[in-house]
Every structure is written in structure tokens, then in C-alpha cells.
């Protein structure tokens, strides 16, 4: 084909960018829900639940995302499940994000000082009430900056989904480049687009951290 970069190419890249956002949302929402369960499982009163969730986290954290994506795509096909690239990438990223967010959030829950648990216990609140009314509201404040920071990682990591044929921003760039052979210009556009998606979140994360830092000194008992 050849030719010059035109509006159609840009539209195609724009579509890819939308799929990147879509896949990021699937990964964050799916991973957020599963990750919340993982976080609670990691501090469960039941030892077997704690161990099972810890094994899950270690397995995922010790495996490259690229491998998880291949396993999701080819592995599910091997056991007879025909899945679309979107479903495979969404499921793989969900498992990946869940392990990391679960671990981040476990740390945040446990960083709420132990006396807060005891005070809630002393007031006869049930475990669920202690969690929902006392611990989680405080943990969420602590968890917000690292969670937003991790979102940036996820948006960038969705580019790996291009290897299973999912046409997101990275893959659409490859396709455009295959017809234009202008790799530098095209990958520069792609880089700028990723940056434009990630930078606002990074900025937001920094601002949250600053606000948290200010709040924390106020929270220390006199």
C-alpha cells in the first residue's frame, strides 16, 4: 500500500487507543473486584484461605504478564474454550491485576493501626462491622495513591495484549506501520498517546500523595 499518514490511519490509531482504554477498564474493574476478595482472603481468620490466596499472589507475581496472556489465550483454547482475544486478554489481565491490587490493599488494610481494631472490638462490633465501618474507610484513604499509581502500570501493560491479536493502541500502530513503513513517526505518535493517557493519572496520584502526607501528620495522636 505505502502512502502517507492520513486521517484514516489516525482514526484507526484512535480506535486502537479506545480499545486500550476499554481493556484497561476491564482489567481494573475485574482486577479490582477479584483483588478486593484476595485482600480480604489474605487476612482471613481461616489459615487455609490465607495460604491459598498467598499462593495465588506468589504464582501470579512470579510469572511474566506476557506468559499469563499466552496461557489465557492458548490455554483456554486447549481445554476447548474458544475465546476472543478481548476475553482472553481481559481475563488474563484481571488475574494479573487482582494479585497486585490484592497485595497492595492487604498492606493498606494492615497498616490501619491495630488499636483501631481493638477499639472496634471493645465496642462489640462484629468482624464485618469492624471492617466496613472502621478499617476500610481508613484503608481506602491510604490505598488511593498507590492504587492510582498502579493504574498507570496497567494502562501501559495492556500493550502486551497485542501478542494475542487484540487490536489495541500498540497493535493498531503495528498494523499502520506495516502499510506505511514509517516506524519512528508512528511509534512516536503511539508513545505520545500512551503518555497522554497516563500522565493525568500520575499527576493525580502525586497530588493525592501530597494531600495524604499533609493529612497523616494530623492523624498522629497528640
Amino acid at each position: 500500500m505505502g502512502g502517507h499518514l492520513n486521517i484514516n490511519h489516525l482514526m484507526f490509531l484512535g480506535q486502537g487507543a479506545l480499545w486500550t482504554i476499554g481493556l484497561s477498564l476491564v482489567a481494573l474493574i475485574g482486577g479490582g473486584i477479584v483483588g478486593f476478595v484476595i485482600a480480604l482472603a489474605r487476612i482471613s481468620p481461616l489459615k487455609s484461605v490465607r495460604i491459598a490466596s498467598a499462593v495465588y499472589v506468589q504464582l501470579i507475581q512470579g510469572t511474566p504478564l506476557l506468559v499469563i496472556l499466552f496461557l489465557g489465550y492458548f490455554g483456554l483454547a486447549a481445554i476447548g474454550l474458544k475465546v476472543s482475544p478481548l476475553a482472553a486478554a481481559g481475563a488474563s489481565l484481571t488475574l494479573y491485576v487482582a494479585a497486585y491490587l490484592g497485595e497492595i490493599w492487604r498492606g493498606c488494610i494492615q497498616s490501619v493501626p491495630k488499636p483501631q481494631w481493638e477499639a472496634a472490638e471493645g465496642l462489640a462490633l462484629s468482624r464485618t462491622q469492624r471492617m466496613t465501618k472502621v478499617i476500610l474507610p481508613q484503608a481506602i484513604r491510604i490505598a488511593t495513591p498507590p492504587t492510582v499509581g498502579f493504574m498507570v502500570q496497567i494502562i501501559k501493560n495492556t500493550s502486551l495484549a497485542s501478542v494475542v491479536g487484540f487490536v489495541e493502541l500498540m497493535r493498531s500502530g503495528q498494523i499502520v506501520n506495516n502499510s506505511l513503513f514509517e516506524p519512528f513517526a508512528i511509534y512516536a505518535i503511539i508513545a505520545v498517546t500512551y503518555f497522554a493517557m497516563c500522565y493525568p493519572l500520575s499527576l493525580f496520584s502525586q497530588r493525592l500523595e501530597q494531600r495524604m502526607g499533609r493529612g497523616r501528620s494530623n492523624l498522629a495522636p497528640a
Binding site: 488499636p115 483501631q116 481493638e118 477499639a119 472496634a120 472490638e121 471493645g122 465496642l123 462489640a124 462490633l125 462484629s126 462491622q129 465501618k133 472502621v134 474507610p137 481508613q138 484513604r141 494530623n218 492523624l219 495522636p221 497528640a222
Partner: protein, 252 residues
Amino acid sequence: MQQIPAASEPIVSLRDVKKSFGSLLVLDGVSFAVQRGEVLALIGRSGSGKSTALRCIDRFEKVDGGEIVVCGHRVDRPDVNLRALRQDVGIVFQSYNLFPHLTIEQNITLAPCAVKGVATAQAKDLARKVLAQVGLEEKLHAYPEQLSGGQQQRAAIARSLAMQPKVMLFDEVTSALDPELTAEVLKVIEQLAADGMTMVMVTHEMGFAKGIADRIVFMHRGKVHETGPASILTSPTTPELTQFVGTGNLKS
């Protein structure tokens, strides 16, 4: 199923309670009892086991042996109903432990609403009442971080009172406060004692213990070493208590 203890039956009783942390024996056969309306002060050096003994009453520590009965609950048994126990027992900590994300009013109404199912409007009335008791009505809508240490501790006492406990435990509640703030918290506790509240307190304020306690339990190396009326602080019989009250613990 749980009957109100008869006048002679103690509200809190510990019998031969043993507790170890690892190889460290912290409670070595501790026994004492608290009658209704009585104020008992647990005193002793750091590490003598007095705080552990107090925490065992509300089962923040599980005991290894012995018997603890609190308002009819067998606290030493594994099947004790913890939520029922803790509705009967109020506990106030050294570090206040107010919930920083909630206003003082919300701190107070949380447990009555969540545990006892008190209606919101009623719980708010209750919050005003208990805050008046500790002299903090005007702080209803403040957040804990906006209060001084003494005010936070009084708010924590109010939060505990809102559950209408049968006995209150105080774990070194003035240790983090300067003398002036200590005085305002102690005044609140004195008023509670005057109102007939049953209380067990771990304290380093010997002058206060002498003034308010009906009975003193002096702990030494995990054992009840000497016990008796407040007068034992001025005329101790054991050399350990003599040394303890003589080593600057009697604050002027």
C-alpha cells in the same frame, strides 16, 4: 440465659489466672474480684502483668489457665460470646483510639446503632448526653484530630459510656497526657465513680488511685503481691510495695 449477679456475686472475678507470652510467664496465678460499684486500681511496675490482667477481662488476651467470670460470662472458655461480653464491658485505652475518619458524634453513635440497633435520632440524643457527662457537648461535630489529647480521651470515655456497660476498664488512660490534661480526665473518672460505676483501672497515678480506689491490687512479677484498701499505699506491708510507692511514683 445470663442472670443479673446477686449483690454478693462479683461483677468481675479472676481465679488463678495464668498467661504466658512464649516462654515469658506474665500472669502467674492471679486472683481478684470486683464487686458491683467498686473501684479497683491495678498498680505495679512496668512488666508486672497489670495491663495483661486487665486485657484478659475483656478477652483481648486469651488465658492459658484459671477462671475469669465477667458479668456472668465465662471469659476463659473458648465458646464465650465475645459480642455479649463486650456489650457489658467498656474499655478505654492509653492511646484513645477514636476513629479518625468519624466525627465525635459518629464515634459515639456507631456502636449503639450497629450493635444494639438503637435508632439514629435516639443515638444522637445519647451522644449529647454522654458528651455532657464528660464536658464536651460543644465538640459533637468535631473530628478527633481537632481535639486535644485530654479531650480525645474524654470523648473515648463518652463513646464507651454510650454502650451502657456494667463495668469499665481503664488501661493507663492518662499515661499519654500532661498533668493538666490528666487532671481533666481524672475528674471525669471521679464523677463516674461517684455515680456508682464499677471500674477496674491500671494506673500510674498513685495520688489518684489513693483518692478514688476502694481497693488496690499491687502486682509484682505476674502475681498479686499485696492487696487491700487504698491505705496500703501509705502503709505498705511488703518491701516491694514499700519500694514501689517510695520510688517517686507518688506524684506530688
